[in-house]
Subunit: 626 residues, 2 copies
């Protein structure tokens, strides 16, 4: 038997284009005599489409295009994901009942209704954490079981089908169903308990996260081995987003044999039809590791390219400060766009050093992109003069004189660069401009709203500062094979250069001490059970802080001579992280996600007051008295 893995690019919200792509792959599979082709979860509608699920016309359209696929199944079995609608029932929101479903079509009709209330299978485990909102839209097997008054396991039925005189029992599950560890139900276990399965099929729409595939290989390999059944995993490629957060889908569709060995793996981030024949002997493949900066670089380049295509943008302007973030951003975009579609702009005020200006120009030259320097000093002084000392009056004739402090002038510079120069330059160049903020900055609002926090996309905003450096090194060493990003960019102190207090040539820079704060902020955001100052103090007291947050040993005592300075620092950043930084993130550009906790829709937050627990206050008292 020959199986084709339809690792397609899904375009979210485009049933017309997706079904066309499927029909092409179906024709290709037929021409290669495949008996079966398997497509990803939600292959027709896409998965991350916001509340588009609430449009009945869109749902009807998904059914319409789904039927075209069913018709194409004359002499090939087609397994595919689509939304399934029971128009006679409603969901808990009162809208038409929707299921995240897996369809099995063959000989022009659907199979699987012989032992099931519907001629399709449902996703049983609906993820409702991180960026996922499954329970918002889809009705689960559990709810259906409750409604029908049967146990859930009765609804976990294989699809029986006869292909070329061979009766097959297919265990069709959807994405999260294969990751049951935290749930009270294990769908594959229940499926396999009642009938011996010939094949376990997991159709997924699973976004890239650094390290996900390493874990997936472990989990799925064990699953196949334990049930002693081959497992086929089909995942899509492409980009999907939740507005605030953009996800790449890595593909990497795989087959595991019944010993749990990986025997086929489709490429990462590439649409490809893999045709696999069980008749041949297959040797076990090495399991690739996707935890490193190389995987992240791959995802970002693929994501940037895909995002530009998706929004129809082919020219990009990047503000180049001479620092690491904008350098890495420019280098990344240069791997995706031809140099004449990339414009790099250095915008010095009187606080910018010759050092960084030269580094910016040098980088632009090495990237062969368009380059210009647009000084902002005159405009900034005009604004400062227009506001500082200006008089406002009221109807009673009273007067008030406004004054700008040096700190306010820092923000004036940042806004002048982005909202005045870059936005104007981007329009004139025919494209958009990027936001080069990293995750450390975004965590504590160390970026100016309508200034350097602006842009059409924040490609680095899910990378901690140390990852930005690592990415820069990787780009030079591996992608370019030469020092495209000048060594000086790695060597200068990170600095906003917005005041005399931030002079890079004097080694003055950011207030964030990345070697420590990167890891502190990561514990606030990325630890599954999220860390707060109470936990940090506990660990500080127990001497396990560095181990727990993962920073360099000995760093904390080197940075903070006493408990008070440690606590002051902790409270300062916690207040920013849960305070003004939230207000800024609400208006931040879309973030390209690579971690398992990106800002935006994955990291949902309210603009509430910074808070310290009662236990924190108590422990602080005790520590300060010691």
């Amino acid at each position: 038997m020959k199986i084709a893995l339809g690792q397609m690019e899904i375009i979210p919200g485009r049933p017309d284009l997706n079904s066309a792509a499927m029909l092409m792959m179906i024709a290709q599979a037929k021409s290669q005599q495949a008996d079966m082709i398997i497509f990803p979860e939600m292959a027709i509608p896409g998965y991350l489409i916001g509340d588009t699920w609430e449009q009945p016309a869109f749902l009807r359209d998904c059914e319409y295009w789904g039927n075209k696929i069913i018709i194409a199944s004359d002499d090939i079995c087609i397994i595919f994901g689509n939304i399934a609608i029971d128009w006679n029932k409603h969901g808990d929101d009162g809208r038409p009942r929707k299921y995240n479903a897996c369809f099995t079509a063959y000989q022009g009709r659907l199979w699987g209704a012989d032992n099931y209330p519907y001629p399709f299978r449902l996703k049983t485990l609906l993820p409702n954490y991180r960026e996922f909102d499954d329970a918002r839209h889809f009705y689960s097997t559990q709810k259906l079981a409750n409604e029908l008054g049967v146990p859930v396991k009765e609804l976990l039925q294989p699809v029986h089908i006869e292909i070329k005189q061979r009766r097959l029992s297919l265990g069709c599950i959807i994405c999260e169903d294969g990751w049951p560890d935290d749930y009270s139900i294990n769908p594959t276990q229940l499926l396999a308990e009642k009938t011996p399965l010939d094949l376990l099929i997991n159709i997924s729409c699973s976004p890239f996260t650094a390290g996900k595939n390493t874990k997936r290989h472990r989990v799925f390999s064990q699953q196949a081995k334990r049930l002693s059944v081959p497992l086929v995993y089909v995942n899509n490629v492409g980009l999907q987003n939740n507005g605030k957060t953009v996800y790449t889908f890595d593909g990497c569709s795989s087959i595991y044999d019944q010993q749990g060995q990986l025997i086929l793996q489709a490429p990462a981030f590439k649409p490809e039809l893999s045709v696999f024949s069980w008749e041949h002997c297959h040797k076990a493949l090495p399991v690739p590791n996707d935890t490193g900066i190389d995987s992240i670089c791959h995802a970002l380049r693929y994501g940037i390219n895909g995002f530009l295509q998706a929004i129809g943008m082919d020219k990009v302007v990047i503000g180049l400060s001479g620092g690491i973030d904008s350098a890495v951003s420019a280098a990344l975009f240069s791997t995706v766009l031809p140099p004449d579609q990339l414009l790099l702009v250095n915008m010095p005020s009187r606080f910018n050093s010759q050092t960084t200006m030269s580094l910016a120009e040098d980088l632009a030259s090495r990237l062969r992109a368009w380059y210009t320097a647009v000084p902002i000093q005159t405009a900034v002084e005009f604004t400062a003069n227009q506001i500082n000392g200006s008089i406002v009056k009221n109807q009673a004739g009273k007067q008030l004189t406004l004054a700008l402090t040096p700190f306010m002038l820092e923000n004036v510079q940042a806004r002048d660069r982005s909202s005045r120069v870059l936005a104007g330059m981007a329009a004139a160049f025919g494209g958009g401009f990027t936001c080069n903020a990293n995750k450390s900055e975004l965590s504590v609002g160390y970026a100016t709203l309508y200034g350097d926090q602006s842009g059409f996309l924040a490609p680095l905003a899910d990378l901690w500062k140390h990852q930005v450096y690592a990415l820069g090194r990787y780009l030079n060493q591996t992608v370019f094979g030469q020092a495209v990003i000048p060594e000086g960019v790695f060597q200068i102190v990170p600095s906003a250069e917005l005041s005399a207090q931030q002079a890079v040539d004097e080694g003055k820079g950011d207030p964030i001490i990345y070697a420590y704060h990167d890891y502190l902020f990561r514990s606030f955001t990325e630890h599954w059970n999220r860390v707060t100052p109470e936990d940090i103090l506990n660990w500080y007291q127990a001497g396990t802080l560095e181990t727990n947050i993962g920073c360099e040993a000995g760093l904390v005592s080197r940075l903070f001579p006493d408990t008070k300075s440690f606590i002051d620092d902790l409270e300062r950043w916690w207040r920013l992280y849960t305070g003004i930084a939230v207000a800024k993130r609400i208006q931040a550009p879309p973030v390209m996600a690579v971690s398992r906790r990106a800002y935006g829709f994955d990291h949902r937050e309210a603009q509430n007051q910074p808070y310290f627990t009662a236990a924190y206050h108590e422990m602080k008292q005790v520590l300060l008295k010691q």
Copy 2:
């Protein structure tokens, strides 16, 4: 028996302050000899706190403060909402198991464990639509029932308690449990079936939505009547938000007698302890109507005030164009802030008319606020000169000359006003500046990013243009009792005044025809089953469009002489609504919600491509051929 309704202000994410507020109300209730005091859902943690639920330290803190309340229940029964944690079990996300729970404390301990697995009651219906994310965080009664292997109804048990030698059976439910229409389970029905209830208690944390209370009175009154049991509804006041969307909570706690008559109603938007004695005779109160602009005005004023307090801002700058949106925004803020904390700024370019400049100054004078005019023409010309005709080069020595079109210059003006002038003025004045965009504009991206779409809050962004006018009229007539907003503001044509094509004195203005598009856009966003061009064409063909979207009869044929012009208009706005407007909304300020579908977290959306269904294309062909 005396019952106190603890209609408190909940401060989200502040268990310390909330429990302090509760202890004060408890003392007050004791001094009035109340036998029982009832607090809202999630009274201790707050309800909309993003993913703060993922911090174990925060959860422990909620338990800590909850215990203080239990201790205070020595001689009064205290019913209150809090998060309940089962540290020995986990949720579907692998994190500690959390329940949205109702606690009944009396004589210093919890009651209700005699017939239940926990000494508290769980929310059974977890809303997972609109702005609600209950299923993301809280474990439901259904899941617990599955886990325990018992039917759900077995877990719907009243709390038996003895107060002053009187045995009571209390039906404790939480918010959504009282709105079961779309669910397969009716918690109150199941509760009442097994034991006669003495009292049905619904603790809620229910945000204001225009018309919600009118519906709530109907639903809850029927509930009390059908079960023949008095119903006490306790809701909080205050503000809570999901980052992108800010909600006011209206309170309006109520008691219905067993005939379903409203016999007590606490005030809207005001913390208040209402002590109610069953011994007295109570006459039925009239049911207030909350569907009008008066309710919306009340919610907005309360919301603006609360938002300023919550973020610690006491001074506000508003850009005043002379048009209706900024005028209404200024008028609203003037009802909340003293005039010397409000600065109004008119920022004319060469395209602004004397008419609107005079209207702006006139309004500022009537509001007695600070006022100034900051012309932007010089700065805009500086920017235009700096970019237009500027030359960029590449490493090979090639040159490219940039050019700004008149359309780009419109955006330069808008950004100059907000990001340069208003942001700078706001900093110098010591406050923030507002975004005055309305819902019609936000729907189709008719606002400039980093320009008039910027600000710390968009108070009018959940109002259609016709509602902004109605609110202006209401403010003049009812709130101020005089024409504070000059009549001219209502009379001029709505216009951005960014080019000669938008000259108000020549009657030239916005491309949006509000009398029709307000209703068209509303059907896209607010209809429960959301409308798309396919539905619109269907209705157009059937002659029911105006009825279905709710605009004036006869308008469509007047506006569109033929089908082609109708379709062109429809496609133009649909493309904007699902295209560039999404990109802009991702970076929009927080929206103050008043409708049952506000932009932001309520209206989740992906930045995908505009789409027309197959049925739309087909129908369009047919219509154009006719």
